[in-house]
């Protein structure tokens, strides 16, 4: 087994691992020598975009996070959009309203990774939403129930009118298209429809809300909530290491998702995961940690099998992160 610490000429012919040290700022793509420049441009573009998004302090709306069984979940689609615009992907957990019985595409809520949660709260961009139990008093409740019933009633009336109009226009279309039909007949039919039409309660379309309604709807209360984000202890030095790496990679414009199924900490995407494949599997280790050679071989082999490059990421003492890419390379 040979190891070279210089960028080795990559080859698809398998056999050897090359360790490439990538401590310098932009990430190099060992197998695509022409790309770094493009990547740099793209990164600069992204940074610019981020800077533009950075509204002046105070006007920026915090994302409302609510805890479910101690997991940070986002519920409102505006919040989802906002974190995505900041390059945080998260993971959707719920059934998709449109076609609930499939696992291919899921819907709200969005679960934040611990690193994403921490990044948001450090930037003051997240606020905890009040727990469900903090309801108003009995009188308040009665008021709400009354309001709900009134709303249902008016919705029924309005939908009933809409349904009648719908029917009428269908009738007019049906009777006018074949041609020779007298106006009187049409009017008679319409009249009859007006008389006989009923819109049964069971036909009423109702909404099964995804997010809880109430207090959190107005931006002022959200800004107010920004302050009391509970400080949640995030366990251990390992989390610290992964967070440093996450923040650094995100700062370079990469999109990250968790990489449990690839045996790593993060999957690293060059752009939005909706449009791009992940290029790297990031594995976070403290700088001083010893690595078992077999483990290195295992991750390198796995990475090459899924056509991704394995990155060993170790935060240094000076706030920078050192990256080492691992790749099988050929020796003829």
């Amino acid at each position: 087994m040979f190891f070279s610490l210089d960028p080795a000429p990559p080859s698809r012919r398998t056999g050897f691992i090359s360790l490439t040290s990538l401590s310098c700022a932009p990430l190099a793509f060992p197998s695509f020598s022409s790309l770094p420049a493009q990547l740099m441009r793209c990164l600069r573009g992204l940074q610019l975009l981020l800077a533009m998004d950075d509204c002046p302090e105070g006007t920026r709306v915090a994302v409302g996070v609510s805890l479910c069984d101690s997991a940070p979940l986002l519920w409102r689609h505006q919040d989802l959009r906002q974190v995505r615009s900041e390059g945080l992907v998260g993971a959707l957990l719920g059934s998709l309203p449109r076609t609930p019985r499939q696992n291919g595409r899921l819907g709200r809520p969005l679960l934040l990774l611990p690193e994403e949660e921490r990044l948001l709260s450090e930037q003051g961009a997240a606020a905890a939403l009040p727990a469900a139990e903090q309801d108003g008093g009995r009188a308040d409740l009665r008021l709400q129930v009354e309001q709900y019933e009134v709303e249902q009633q008016s919705s029924h009336e309005e939908q009933s009118i809409l349904a009648l109009e719908d029917r009428k226009s269908a009738l007019v279309r049906a009777m006018s298209s074949p041609g020779a039909q007298s106006d009187e007949a049409l009017w008679g039919r319409l009249e009859a429809l007006d008389q006989s039409f009923t819109f049964p309660r069971s036909a009423l379309a109702v909404q099964l809300s995804t997010a809880r309604s109430g207090l959190s709807y107005c931006p002022e209360s959200r800004a107010f909530l920004q302050a009391d984000w509970p400080i949640r202890t995030q366990g251990g030095s390992r989390r610290e290491v992964t967070y440093q790496v996450f923040r650094d990679l995100r700062g370079r414009g990469f999109y990250l998702t968790s990489a449990g199924k690839f045996g790593g900490d993060f999957l690293v995407y060059p752009g939005d995961p909706l449009r791009f494949h992940a290029h790297f599997i990031a594995i976070c280790l403290p700088l001083e940690e010893c690595l078992c050679l077999l483990d290195v071989l295992a991750v390198a082999r796995l990475g090459s099998n899924v056509k991704k490059t394995v990155l060993l990421c170790s935060p240094g003492t000076d706030g920078t992160v050192r990256y080492t890419s691992l790749q099988w390379s050929g020796m003829v």
Binding site: C68, T99, P100, N103, A203, G271
Partner: protein
């Protein structure tokens, strides 16, 4: 761009309540999911790429922001009861009742995970204090340490969406290993179910749930045992098999309950009194000869009529001509290959019995036998005797014949083991437990909640952050699960992977 965004959000910030006209329009909504195109390898700053990304994102957001809209008539209404952590249905349940829910106090109820899943599917509207709960409320109220965790619900939902039938696993409703060993029918499952759902302690109400499937006798049994079901089940434990068999046998034999499978032999004591009671002892089977029709030796083609004393009265059986029967049976001689012969011989040798030894049989008394033994001992002295004189002796005497397989077994240092070995002696831990029974999707049509049958697998939920189960945990879970595979559902934020640990028998390339 940022400005545009801001005005947009200021206009209808977090307005996720649909207006009546929007609700009405939602009836003719498409149910198609846009296909995701081929992904690009690398962002190249081109307009084309930016457009595609924008389109994908738009599709994504329109999917994700879509609200559930259902006809009121299609919704089942339920009420959340926090004190019991269940949802009680107010209108008749839908099709889902075949695989989900339970009855208690003559009401149809759903477990929180079932209710939440049905809310997400748009089948159920749950009210609390006369107000409808949102999906968010459902997640926050239904999932807790008192019910199931978010991760467990993720696994539940994932499997349900794939079409599996998923039930909570309840260790007390599983037959004990002893019951499994005896092949006892699972008559207690309904009682166990009732115990699990604490709300129905009254036996009369519980019978409404168990329906006509149960005979009258079983219901009576339930009456006496439903309050002390625990006690009863311990009675059937290995310590007192005599007691339980005696009582159940006398009680149930008349009602046609088959407690013993025919291939499981009861203890000798039981057998003897059984045969006595049936009065079969007057037949000495050694003296009753059954004809061997396939025999090579030429029998006369006619069987004499049997001893009339063996037949019931008033039944006469004449001589029987069996030539016709002989034509119908296979009379070909069994051709054994040399290998088969060797195997037969080996079998004989292994089942070696001192009484089969011709020389031993010729001995007429102990003295002669002892003489024979000492003679043989002297003969055996031919082996290197000094090896047997010391504390450490050879594992095997080369003069004794032995098959290769047996020899390998004899000299093996590490004995093979299996997952269940010693598992019954392990004390249970708390950190690993089975959460769900999973039944295959294609059995949904004839699935019965009262008699679900054998699960396809059992699920244990854990996360990538936690430890890998150790051998002890795997042994315990396997033992608890019996012959049904235990699958570990490992949750990694949004992803769920399934793993299972299996026994593996190393093949032995030795014959025989």
């Amino acid at each position: 761009m940022a400005d545009q965004n801001k005005t947009d959000t200021a206009g209808k910030l977090y307005n996720e309540i649909l207006s009546p006209s929007e609700l009405f329009a939602a009836r003719s909504r498409s149910h198609k999911i846009p296909v995701r195109g081929q992904k690009d390898f690398f962002p190249n700053d081109s307009d084309e790429q930016r457009q595609r990304l924008e389109q994908s994102l738009n599709e994504h957001w329109s999917l994700v922001s879509e609200e559930r809209v259902e006809r009121l008539g299609n919704l089942v209404k339920g009420i959340w009861i926090p004190s019991d952590q269940i949802v009680e249905l107010q209108s008749p349940a839908g099709k889902f009742w075949q695989t989900m829910g339970f009855s208690a106090n003559a009401k149809q109820c759903l477990l929180p995970e079932e209710a939440l899943y049905l809310m997400e599917c748009g089948n159920l509207q749950v009210f609390y204090r006369d107000l409808p709960l949102s999906i968010q409320d459902g997640y926050e109220r239904f999932l807790s340490s008192k019910t199931i965790s978010l991760q467990q619900y993720q696994v539940f939902g994932h499997l349900k969406r794939l079409g599996y039938v998923v039930n909570r696993f309840n260790p007390s409703s599983e037959p004990s290993p002893y019951m499994r060993q005896l092949n006892l029918p699972q008559s207690r499952d309904s009682a166990g179910r009732q115990l699990k759902r604490k709300r129905s302690t009254s036996p009369t109400l519980s019978s409404s749930h168990t329906k006509a499937r149960e005979s009258h006798t079983e219901r009576m049994e339930e009456d006496e045992c439903s309050h002390e079901g625990e006690k009863k089940s311990t009675q059937a434990s290995p310590e007192t098999p005599g007691v339980s068999t005696a009582t159940t046998r006398s009680a149930d034999e008349g009602k046609g309950r088959n407690w013993w499978m025919t291939d499981v032999l009861p203890e000798p004591g039981h057998r003897s009194d059984h045969s006595l009671s049936s009065g079969s002892s007057r037949w000495d089977f050694r003296s009753i000869v059954f004809p061997d029709l396939g025999s090579r030796e030429q029998l006369s083609s006619c069987l004499a009529s049997p001893d009339p004393s063996l037949l019931p009265e008033a039944l006469a059986v004449g001589a029987c001509d069996f030539a016709l029967w002989r034509q119908r049976i296979n009379l070909r001689k069994v051709n054994m290959s040399s290998k088969d012969w060797k195997r037969e011989e080996d079998k004989l040798r292994r089942g070696w019995d001192v009484n089969k030894d011709e020389e031993v049989r010729r001995c007429r008394n102990w003295t002669e036998y002892m003489e024979l033994m000492s003679r043989r001992e002297a003969k055996r002295k031919g082996r290197p005797a000094h090896l047997w004189n010391r504390e450490v002796t050879p594992l095997h005497d080369p003069r004794e014949p032995i098959s290769t397989g047996e020899l390998l077994e004899k000299i093996s240092v590490i004995k093979p083991t299996n997952l269940l070995e010693g598992a019954s002696r392990l004390k249970g831990g708390d950190e690993w437990r089975i959460c769900f029974n999973v039944y295959q999707a294609d059995t949904v049509a004839d699935f019965k909640k009262s008699n679900p049958g054998k699960p396809y697998a059992r699920m244990c939920v854990c996360s990538f952050d936690g430890p890998v189960p150790d051998l002890r945990a795997i042994k315990l879970l396997t033992f608890q699960s019996g012959d049904i595979p235990v699958v570990f559902a490992v949750v990694d934020y949004g992803d769920i992977s399934f793993y299972t640990f299996k026994d593996f028998q190393l093949p032995l390339d030795v014959f025989p």
